[in-house]
Each structure stands twice: as C-alpha cells, then as structure tokens.
C-alpha cells in the first residue's frame, strides 16, 4: 500500500475550489456503500463532483445517483472492481475504457486513490486531441443520423403522398382503442363530416360498434392475425336526420408491431357499394325476369342446343302436361308424338337461320300425361333463336299459346254460320217458292173467277126478261156477283203481298218530301174532290228523308187515302200532314184526320193483315199492314192515337240514320 505524503500544505477552501473548478479533469469524491453483509463495498455514493465532472456527467455538484447508476457498465467492464480494490488496498489505481455504450462515445480513463474514508477519482480524456477527434466523429455521426432521418422523412412523405392519392382508403389506428393516427383522403371521404384523427374509432364512428367493426379490430389487435373483409355492409349515419347510407366495403385489417408487440392496425379498404348495389340490381332484375318467366300465364320454354333440350319449363307450360317430365330432356324424348309434325322442322329452321318463326293455330295430337291418350290441341307458337355471348345460336325460346278453345269456338261458329247460310238459302228458296205460289195461285184463280164473272154477265144478257123478273132470280144473280167481287178482292190482296215482298229490297235515296206529297195529292184528287176534303201540309220543320221513294210514297198514299176514305159521313174530311224532327234526330211524319176514329179494340187490330175494320168502304185490308212493314223494315215505328167519332192521328217515326241531311223541304 503506498504511503501518503507526509504533509501537505493546508489549502484554504477558496483556493481549493478555484483549483477544482479550473481542472479539465473530472474530479470526484466517493463514499463507499456496503452490501447487505456490511463487510464488502459494493457501490459508492458521490460526495462531490467538480464542474468539469458535472459537465461531463450532466450531474449536479452532489449527485444523488450512485457510482453504478452513473456508470451502468462499471460491473461489466471491471471499473467498480478497480475502484473497490483501490479503496481496500489504498494503492493508486488506473482504469482505461472506451465506452460507446455509455452514450458518451469517447475514449476515457480514470485514476483513483483512497483518501481517508473516501475514494478520490479523476477521469478524463487522455488528451484534448482525443476529445477533438471524438467530437469530429460525433459530428459526422450526427450528420449521418440527420440525413437518415431526412431520408426517412422523405420516404414517409412519399408514402404519405402515395397514400393520400391512392383510391384505396387507408388508415392507421393506434392502441387498443384504435385511435386514428392517420387517414388518407379516400378514407376520410367515406365519412366526410366526421373528425377522425386523434379519436378512437368507437367515438369517431359510433355506428361501427353495433356493426361489429370494433369487435373485429379488437380481435386483430389481440391476435395479430390479419382480417379480410369482403363486401361487408355498414350503415353510415348521416347528419341532418338523413337516412343512414348503406355502404359496402372490402378491406383488410392488419396488425402492425413495434418491438414484436402489436401497437396498432392498418386498414386498407375499398368502397364497393356501387358494385354491390349494381350486382344486387342485376340480381333483382334477373329475379324479376325469372319471376316473370315462372309466373307468366303464357307457356314458355327454353330449348337448348340442336337437340332442343328442355332447360327451362315454366309452370304455365308444365300445366298443359301435368304428368310428363320435360325438364332436361330433348324434345324427341320429352314429346315424341311431335316427331311427325311440322314442329321439329320449324325448330331446326329457327336454329339454323336465327329467324323468328310464328306458327298459328297448329293442330297437334298430344298427350297430356306420359303414355296418355292423344288429344287434338291447337297451338300458336313463337320460336325465337337464343344467342350466346358470341352471337352464335345456342338455343330456342318457345312461347306457346293453347288456342284450342278459340279454334273450337270458331269452328263451331263456322258450322253455325254454314247452318245459318243453309237455312237462309232454304228460307230464300221457300220465299221464292211462296212468291211463285202466290203468283200462280192468283193467276190460276183469277182465270176461272174472271170466267165466272164473264159467264154471269152473259147470263144477265141472255136470260129472258120474264125469267129475270121472276121472284128471287135477281137477288141470286146479285149475290153471285158479290161473291165474285169478294173473290177477286182476295186475289188482289195476294198480288199486293207479293209486291210488298219486293218493295223491301228497294234502296234508300234522298227524297223531297214536299214534292212527293204533291204527287200523291194529284193521284188522290178525285177522292178529295168527291168528299170535299181539305188537306193542310206542314213539312217545313221536316228534313229531306233518305228512303226508298216508292215505299215512302206508299206510306203517304195509304195514310192520306185512309184519312179520306174513313171520313165521318156528313162531315167533310179535314186532314193535317205534318213533319218535324225530334231532339234526337228522328224524323216524324204525322197524319191527323177528323174521321170515324177507332176504339181501343179496333186500334189493337189495326195493323194486322187482311184487317178491314169498316165494311162500308172499299179496301183490301192490306194498306196499314204494308205501312207498318215498310216503317219497321226501315227501323222506324208507327203509332196511332184515336177517338171514335173525333178522328185519328197516325205517327210514323223514322230513325235519324235514315236522314243524311237536314235541308228543309221547299
């Protein structure tokens, strides 16, 4: 153990302090600290540190930290051992070290000596040159670090630029609460009105909690396993009471680590809402088409390939063949009875040419159930070629319609029409026969009755006067004459009837009513004169009529002649003929007389055939029957109002269609 100097000048404290302060070396005094056993020194507490030491260690004059704390590597490199030995032996010690790991990246050395109960150390760089070199190295290192940091910053900036402009939405969430540390523009755009950065996801996007997003993030954070989400829906809340917007995302949640520990999650997400909605729309349309197809009341099938395999059979089609299996079978197997019909040829043509073919009302013998009896059915088909994506024909769509019922109905109608035509022909023949019969009968009857009349006349002439004057002879002759007259009248009526049949076929044409009435009056002038009849005509309110002129003349003639013929004896007939048009366009012709009049019973019989209500005047009993027939054939009506002893009014109403123009008659 070295001996301490015998004596030292006692230095006043001020000078000592100055001495300590001016030293380049770090000087320190240490008090030993003992281990639990109290025998061995394990560490030292610092009692004093001079300014150079303070600067070097960054500590105050009396640091609280111990030697081992201030020199954490002292155990490893043996420094503490060196110091303990110096304290224990009292021999001076020296220690050299290069300790970059201490953070003081310099070469340094330490000298130690025991002084009393304390240990004095001096430690410093061996020379200023070393320090300078170390400083240069430190600066170089510093610049290197700076450049690296700038490079990293540059890279980050570039990444940030890329991220910012990428269409993918990117975010980084830190910590277990998934606090947003970064969101790029695309990500922010999903939630345009939200503050995301710096906030936990559950707070920034509360809707993600219920949607299970936070649970997913938690799982990724906990397990570190990447999660791939495919088209996951998220109802994104919107401000202002708007309905939440349904969005769909395809994304990855990827854990990122620091020092092996998961510290956050990076998210890459794509907004696939449009694609999903478009696909849903396509699916919806496809479904709609399928529904249409399946629910269509019209039978539809799709036949695939050149063998016409039933690939789609809608229920309406299947209903026609309830017991037959069609689906998946080629036509020739599914419906073999069609083999000898035109159907396979038509299908082949459509399949080859691609031209749509419509087959109307094709009669087919088909069985409704497999092996069942063949029934005659009528089908109307439309065959359309179906093309694949390349435009090549790969099948045929067949739209079928069972028209059996309507064809049958039409056939029945045709049969009925034929029957009708036949009976019409028979009726026409019968009418002609009747016509001929009436003519022949009237002719054949007329000849003998004419002879009878002639014979009667002859008898009157040749009968000797005494015989004629004999009692009873003349009345017999008179009655014979009456019978002949009556017979001839009947024949005349029959002849008139045949004329009436022909009159019905007369074509209509515009007739000047006023002139027609004038003509009729000329014909009736003798009767008018004989009875001193007075006629007033007012047809200014009436129209030109469209009517068969002969028939109209017949109407006017019959009505006017009746009005005069059946006048009240001793009272000259006064007849008014009026014509006007009703509100609904019908033409009215009215003949009013002051004649005999008719009671209710007579009125009921008035228009019957061969009805003569008055015996005292000439008449065939056919006039009014003809009038009624003519009027009704033209779609009109005739009515009579009459009071016995006062007179009658006959009113003919003809429908508006018989009146093409409304010119007032002159």
């Amino acid at each position: 153990m070295p001996t301490p100097p015998a004596s030292l000048p006692s230095l006043p404290a001020v000078e000592l302090h100055a001495l300590l302060a001016v030293s380049f070396s770090a000087l320190a005094l240490w008090r030993p600290l003992y281990g639990p056993d109290g025998a061995a020194v394990t560490d030292f507490a610092c009692e004093y540190l001079n300014p150079a030491g303070q600067q070097m260690l960054g500590q105050p004059e009396r640091p609280e930290q111990t030697f081992l704390t201030l020199f954490p590597n002292a155990c490893e490199n043996g420094l503490i051992t060196c110091c303990c030995r110096v304290f224990a032996t009292g021999e001076a010690g020296h220690f050299e070290a290069n300790h970059p790991a201490d953070g003081r990246d310099n070469y340094w050395h330490l000298a130690a000596r025991r002084g009393g109960e304390l240990l004095a150390t001096s430690f410093t760089d061996p020379a200023g040159e070393t320090t300078l070199r170390a400083n240069h190295r430190a600066e170089a290192r510093q610049a290197e670090l700076l450049a690296a940091a700038q490079r990293r910053a540059q890279e980050r900036e570039e990444f940030a630029q890329v991220f910012a402009h990428t269409p993918a939405a990117i975010c980084i969430q830190c910590g277990p609460a998934h606090r947003y540390a970064y969101v790029n523009a695309a990500y922010q755009q999903f939630f345009p009105d939200r503050q995301l950065l710096g906030r936990p996801v559950a707070e920034a996007l509360p809707e993600t909690v219920d949607a299970g997003v936070v649970d997913l993030l938690d799982a990724v954070y906990r397990t570190g396993e990447t999660y791939y989400g495919h088209e996951q829906p998220l109802l994104v809340a919107r401000p202002g009471g708007q309905a939440p917007k349904p969005m769909y995302f395809t994304f990855t949640y990827q854990a990122y680590r620091e020092n092996g520990e998961v510290v956050g999650i990076s998210t890459f997400a794509f907004d696939v809402t449009e694609q999903v909605l478009a696909r849903q729309e396509r699916e919806r349309q496809r479904q709609q088409l399928e529904d249409l197809f399946m629910q269509a009341s019209a039978p539809i099938v799709v036949l695939d390939g050149p063998d016409h395999v039933f690939t789609l059979v809608n229920p309406a089609y299947q209903r026609f063949f309830p017991g037959r299996e069609l689906q998946g079978k080629p036509l020739r197997d599914a419906l073999p009875e069609l083999a000898d019909t035109p159907v396979p040829t038509l299908l082949r043509q459509v399949y080859t040419s691609g031209e749509t073919c419509v087959a109307e009302e094709m009669p087919l013998q088909m069985a409704r159930s497999a092996g069942g009896p063949l029934e005659e059915m009528y089908w109307t088909f439309s065959f359309q070629a179906h093309r694949d994506a390349h435009g090549d024909i790969d099948g045929i769509r067949a739209f079928a319609q069972d028209v059996t019922a309507s064809v049958r109905a039409r056939q029945q109608l045709q049969e009925a029409n034929q029957a009708l035509t036949e009976s019409n022909r028979q009726l026409t023949r019968t009418n002609t026969d009747l016509d001929n019969f009436i003519y022949t009968a009237s002719h054949d009857l007329k000849a003998p009755i004419t002879n009878l009349e002639g014979l009667l006349h002859l008898l009157q002439r040749v009968l000797p006067l005494p015989a004629r004057q004999q009692e009873g002879v003349q009345p017999v002759l008179d009655r014979m004459q009456q019978s002949v007259d009556r017979f001839q009248l009947t024949i005349a009526q029959l002849t008139d009837l045949t004329k009436l049949q022909r009159a019905a076929a007369e074509p209509a044409e515009p007739v000047d009513l006023a002139r027609l009435i004038e003509d009729v009056c000329l014909d009736l002038a003798p009767q008018f004169a004989a009875t001193e009849a007075r006629l007033t005509v007012d047809v200014t309110g009436g129209p030109r009529l469209a009517f068969a002129p002969k028939n109209l003349r017949s109407l006017v003639y019959n009505l006017l002649s009746n009005a005069v013929k059946y006048h009240q004896p001793g009272r000259p007939p006064v007849v008014h003929l009026r014509s006007h048009r009703t509100e609904n366009g019908a033409a009215v012709l009215e003949v009013q007389d002051n004649g005999l009049g008719l009671n209710a019973r007579q009125q009921a019989k008035l228009f019957g055939l061969f009805r003569r209500l008055h015996d005292h005047v000439e008449g065939s009993g056919i006039g009014l029957y003809m009038v009624k027939r003519i009027v009704e054939n033209a779609g009109g009506t005739i009515a009579v109002s009459s009071t016995p002893g006062i007179g009658s009014t006959f009113t003919i109403t003809l429908p508006g269609t018989a009146l093409p123009e409304t010119t007032t008659a002159v």
Binding site: Y439, S442, H443, K446, A447, P448, T450, N451, E453, G454, L455, H457, L458, T495, T498
Partner: protein, 140 residues
C-alpha cells in the same frame, strides 16, 4: 160496216174461249172467230195455205201465255222465226189474267202488238180494233 177477216183465240181454257167468242160474235167485228187451245194449233192455223189472211187483211191473234203443249212465249218465238211475209199476216195481242215482272221481261223483243187484261169485254175489243185496224172496222 167492215169486218176484219178473222180473229184467232189462243187459250187452253174452253170457257174463256166460249165467253170471248160470245163477246166477239155479239160485236160482229170479224168474219170468222177461230179457236186454238195451244200455240202449236195456232201456228198450224196461221200456216194453212188456203187461209184468207194477207198482209192487207191480217188476222188478230188474242194470245194467252200459260198453255200446255206450246205456251205463248214459245208460240211467239216460233212466229218470229216465220218469213216476214207470213208474220205480216197476223197481229198478235197478249190477252192474259196478269203479268208478273218476270213474264213481262220475257216478252221483250218478241213480236207483240199489245197487251190486254182478261176479261175481254166489248170496250176493250173496240179500243183494240181502233188502235190496230183503224177505221177499217167499227164496233156495232
């Protein structure tokens, strides 16, 4: 008073012929009244070589249309086929009960001088003679 040489009644009805003959005889307008009961007989009478008919003194034929064997239409067609000189020896007037339009159509283009409706009476005969034979004859 002059008479026409002959009147030929062509009718299948005996009573009609009897009555017409009575009327004509009573009037005394013809030298003779001949009767044929169908068209064939009438043609035979007209074609008789010894007949006294001539274009200057033609026979008046009163022709019914409906008859058996040869009816009035057939007679007229056959008459039309005769040489003109023979045709001019007769004046044909149709005397019938009634004419329907169909029969009337059939008479078009046939050599018919006139139509009369039965029964034949003195007035009709007088008118007929005045029209077709002028002042040659007059009714009594």
């Amino acid at each position: 008073m002059k008479k026409i040489p002959a009147i030929l009644l062509v009718d299948d009805d005996d009573i009609t012929n009897f009555l017409n003959k009575q009327v004509l005889n009573h009037l005394g307008v013809a030298d003779q009244v001949l009767v044929a009961t169908n068209g064939e007989q009438a043609l035979n009478i007209l074609a008789r070589p010894d007949s006294s008919f001539s274009p200057a003194h033609p026979v008046l034929v009163l022709l019914d249309l409906n008859m058996p064997v040869m009816d009035g239409f057939e007679f007229l067609e056959a008459f039309q086929a005769l040489p003109p000189a023979q045709q001019q020896r007769a004046v044909v007037v149709v005397l019938t009960t009634s004419l329907n339009s169909h029969d009337l159509d059939r008479t078009t283009n046939l050599p018919i001088a006139g139509f009369l409706n039965k029964p034949l009476n003195e007035e009709k005969v007088a008118t007929l003679l005045r029209i077709h034979f002028g002042p040659l004859v007059t009714a009594e």
